[in-house]
């Protein structure tokens, strides 16, 4: 520290200069007094006492500058008077006694004043010095007491080496040391500074600026704990040595509190930032002060876009909306507002938000919740509820719900109407209150109770209700226990179907059925009787008609044999005709019988070897007419499930026909084979005989219709009718194709 040396030099120069100035001033004031005197005397005229102005001048100088300058001022004044003033009055030297007395008095006064002034000055100086010393002592004492009692830790260290010269109690308690442990040790030794760079910086600042004000530094207590302090220091002089007076304010707690606050603020801020609800703060100037992530999403604008911008600027046109008015109300009236707001975004899409707007010190805080989904589901729910109501009322069945006490809580239109009321009229009523028949009502209610208590549903049971018009309806009801929505109460849900009509229909059907049964029974009896008649008839035919035929035939023959020679040729011819006719009749009867038999009786189904039957039939024919050379092929292994006897008839008929109609063919061939179409078997009898004209094919299967003349091919024309009937009875179909002169094919299926 160099300032005191410089100061000394400076003060020395100051003293010299000061002296010069004071003495000059003395002269100047005397001169000034003289000039003024001159001016005055011009004004006033002669007679002005010469020293009148010099007295004040000298007094002034002496008081202000001291004895020296006072004496000088006296001398100069005296000189001036003697050499300037008096001569002007006419003489050179003080001639008059007044003048000489005045001069002496003035001199004497001047000296007196100067001395007195000097004494006064010295005394004052001494007093001042004494006062200074007192005050210094006082201040030292005060300082010491402050030093030692101040709650702020203080220490005085030697600048040169950092040795602790003095420390106060607070410092000791802050650091946890005893006085002896610290004094005369250095900060570095004791490691009281936690970070040496901080100390270095501290020292540097002190050196450069002479003081340090409120710097946060970290120190180490005796225990090793870190202490954070606010440090101020000043360079002072103690006993001639340069020292540092340091004040440490323990701000550890404060720092900790600050850190915790910051942390909790951060934490809250984080929470706020990450809240699901949108948080925005608008300042009083309507600028966005804070927007959290959720709010960014709700606004569909980013933080950067909105922050510091004005609300009205960001949403043009919003000033006309309700939401703006609400925010404004909060901003101005400082009252919390709530609003459910439907917001139309610039792109035209719509969102629903629930806003809670609260006044906060910075302006308003807006909590926003995206309730678009909720609104949508609410709407969907209300839509579906409406739909449900429409459906419930559309449905013709009764739908109702009752609570524990059998009071209706839900009633559809159908149910209410049946009871002569509107749905809302029926809600709240019990069956007892409106059902005409009390017994019915009691039964309903006891059912309800049972179902609710037991928890078991009663499904599709019948009950009776006398409706509002007095008509008794039969209902098929299902009642189930269920929980009323929105409560935990067990209640009852019921559906009734009006089955009155159904019941009537059922009864009717039963009646009809019974009637039908009876009729069927009647008919069956009739049919059976008819069948029996038919059987009897067939029997009669077979037996009784044949006998006369036999007689016709037999006696004609007998006649011919026994009386042959006696008869003419013509007579023989006649007899032959009789025989022929009776034989023909026999065939007709046989055919009829076969036909009738083919429709009577049950089919006795069994596996029949059709190939074997066909072979047998053809073999018979061959044996009966050995002279005819007929080539036949029977596909082996053809079988079917059918009535053996009836199929025999079919095959016999068809093969007999084939045999018959190939009589005139030079190289006759007959084939029996099967065709497969899908899973159907078609059995075919084909020949290359006379064939037939397809134009008359429809007549083929009708009884007694013939497509060839009797002389050509004898026959009675009943066979195919029978065959057809048998095939039909088996559930099959028969078809015939033919070409005149080329042949015919009969194909049939059996199922």
């Amino acid at each position: 520290m160099n300032s005191s040396a410089d100061g000394e030099a400076k003060s020395q120069t100051h003293t010299c200069l000061g002296c010069f100035v004071t003495y000059a001033a003395a002269i100047a004031s005397a001169a000034a007094a003289f000039i003024i005197y001159q001016a005055l005397s011009h004004l006033v005229g002669p007679g002005l006492p010469p020293y009148i102005l010099f007295y004040p001048a000298v007094m002034l100088v002496a008081l202000l500058a001291g004895m020296g300058p006072g004496l000088l001022a006296t001398a100069v004044a005296e000189f001036t008077v003697i050499y300037w003033i008096l001569p002007m009055e006419g003489h050179l030297a003080p001639a008059r006694v007044v003048e000489i007395l005045g001069t002496v008095v003035f001199l004497g006064m001047g000296v007196f004043i100067s001395v007195v002034a000097e004494l006064y000055r010295r005394a004052r100086e001494r007093a001042a010095t004494y006062k200074q010393e007192i005050s210094l002592h006082e201040s030292e004492t005060r300082f010491s007491s402050v030093f030692h009692t101040d709650p702020i830790g203080m220490n005085i260290t030697r600048f040169a080496d950092g040795q602790y010269l003095d420390v106060n109690e607070s410092f000791l308690s802050l650091f946890g040391y005893m006085r002896e442990e610290i004094l005369h040790h250095t900060a570095t030794e004791l490691e009281t500074w936690a970070a040496p760079e901080e100390r270095n910086r501290f020292i540097r600042t002190l050196r450069d600026q002479g003081s340090v004000r409120s710097v946060e530094t970290r120190h180490r207590r005796k225990s090793g704990e870190i202490l954070i302090a606010l440090v101020s220091a000043e360079l002072i002089e103690v006993s001639g040595e340069r020292c540092i007076l340091t004040l440490l304010q323990d701000i550890t707690e404060r720092k900790r509190a600050e850190a915790m606050l910051r942390e909790s603020e951060e934490h809250f801020r984080d929470t706020l930032d990450n809240m699901m609800e949108g948080c925005q703060i608008l300042g009083f100037d309507w600028r966005y002060l804070y927007i959290n992530k959720a709010a960014e999403k709700h606004n569909r604008r980013s933080n950067e876009e909105l922050l510091t911008k004005k609300y009205l600027d960001m949403w043009p046109g919003i000033e006309t909306t309700e939401v703006f008015k609400v925010i404004q109300r909060c901003m101005e009236e400082r009252v919390t507002q709530r609003i459910e707001n439907e917001f139309v975004f610039p792109d035209g899409t719509v969102g629903w938000f629930e806003l809670s707007i609260q006044p906060v010190p910075q302006g308003v805080f807006i909590l926003s919740q995206d309730i678009t989904e909720r609104k949508r589901s609410e709407k969907a729910l209300s839509d579906s509820q409406r739909l449900l109501k429409v459906i419930l009322d559309l449905v013709p069945q009764f739908i109702f719900a009752k609570d524990r006490n059998s009071r209706h809580v839900l009633v559809n239109l159908a149910c209410a109407e049946a009871n002569g009321m509107k749905p809302d009229q029926m809600v709240g009523l019990r069956d007892l209150d409106f059902v005409r028949d009390q017994a019915q009502a009691k039964s309903f209610m006891s059912d309800d109770l049972e179902i609710i208590e037991s928890g078991k549903p009663k499904i599709r049971f019948e009950e009776r209700l006398t409706d509002a018009t007095g008509r008794t309806r039969i209902l098929q009801t299902t009642k189930i226990p269920f929980t009323l929505p929105g409560t935990a109460q067990t209640a009852l849900l019921g559906v009734s179907v009006d089955i009155t009509e159904l019941k009537l229909a059922e009864a009717e059907v039963q009646k009809l059925n019974a009637e039908l049964e009876r009729r069927v029974h009647e008919r069956t009896v009739q049919l059976e009787a008819a069948n029996k008649e038919l059987e009897a008839f067939a029997y009669a035919v077979s037996h009784d008609l044949r006998a006369p035929l036999r007689a016709l035939d037999g006696f004609s023959q007998a006649l011919s044999e026994d009386y042959g020679p006696k008869l003419s040729g013509e007579a023989h011819n006649f007899l032959d005709q009789i025989v022929l006719a009776s034989r023909h009749m026999g065939e007709l009867i046989d055919g009829l019988l076969t036909l009738s038999r083919s429709t009577r009786g049950e089919l006795q189904l069994e596996e029949v070897d059709l190939s074997a039957h066909a072979e047998a039939i053809l073999a018979e024919h061959a044996k009966a007419e050995p002279f005819r050379r007929v080539t036949w092929t029977v596909e082996p292994g053809l079988g079917a499930r059918c009535d053996s006897r009836l199929i025999e008839v079919v095959l016999t008929n068809l093969l007999d026909n084939a045999w018959k109609y190939t009589a005139g063919t030079p190289e006759p061939t007959i084939r029996f084979y099967a065709e497969h179409r899908g899973n159907e078997h078609i059995y075919c009898v084909a020949d290359n005989g006379a064939g037939f004209d397809m134009r008359h094919a429809d007549k083929l299967f009708q009884p007694f219709q013939r497509l060839h003349r009797q002389e050509e091919f004898p026959g009675i024309g009943i066979g195919l009718a029978t065959v057809q009937r048998i095939v039909h009875r088996h559930g099959g179909i028969i078809r015939a194709t033919g070409t005149p002169g080329k042949g015919a094919t009969f194909s049939f299926s059996l199922s």
């Binding site: 036999r550 037999g554 006696f555 025989v579």
Partner: protein, 143 residues
């Protein structure tokens, strides 16, 4: 040795005539007795009733029995014959114009030895009857 006889049980006069004529052709006409209904047949065979004092062999060599007979039907007669120890083994040929399955079945069931249908064709009829006669009187050994 007693001559073998045939008992013809036939209600139809024409059939009777034709049958006899046929038998005559093979010279068996003299050995034919005719009854015309079921009751008569039983009486004859069991020597009861009408024929209580019948002469001639105990039993015919064969009975030609029709089914459709007045009073007692042929099948019933057969039943009775088979029930009686005297006539249980008596050869009976059912000669009928019925071609009902049932009749044939019942015939055999009741114990007929043979079932023959009367053909409408007279020449066939004669043939059949002749054959029957020859067989049962000449070929077959009665019990």
């Amino acid at each position: 040795m007693t001559a073998k006889t045939i008992l013809l049980v036939e209600d139809n006069p024409q059939d009777e005539m034709l049958t006899l004529r046929a038998l005559k052709k093979i010279n068996l006409a003299n050995q034919v007795d005719v009854v015309r209904d079921g009751q008569q047949a039983l009486d004859y065979l069991l020597r009861e009733g009408e024929f209580a004092g019948r002469s001639g062999p105990e039993l015919p060599a064969v009975v030609l029995l029709d089914i459709n007979l007045p009073r007692i039907s042929g099948l019933k007669v057969l039943e009775r014959l088979r029930a009686d120890s005297r006539t249980r083994l008596l050869p009976v040929v059912i000669l009928t114009s019925s071609d009902e399955e049932q009749d044939r079945f019942r015939g055999y069931l009741n114990g007929a030895n043979s079932f023959v249908r009367k053909p409408v064709d007279s020449s066939k009829f004669y043939e059949t009857v002749s054959r029957l006669g020859v067989y049962w009187l000449a070929v077959n050994d009665p019990p």
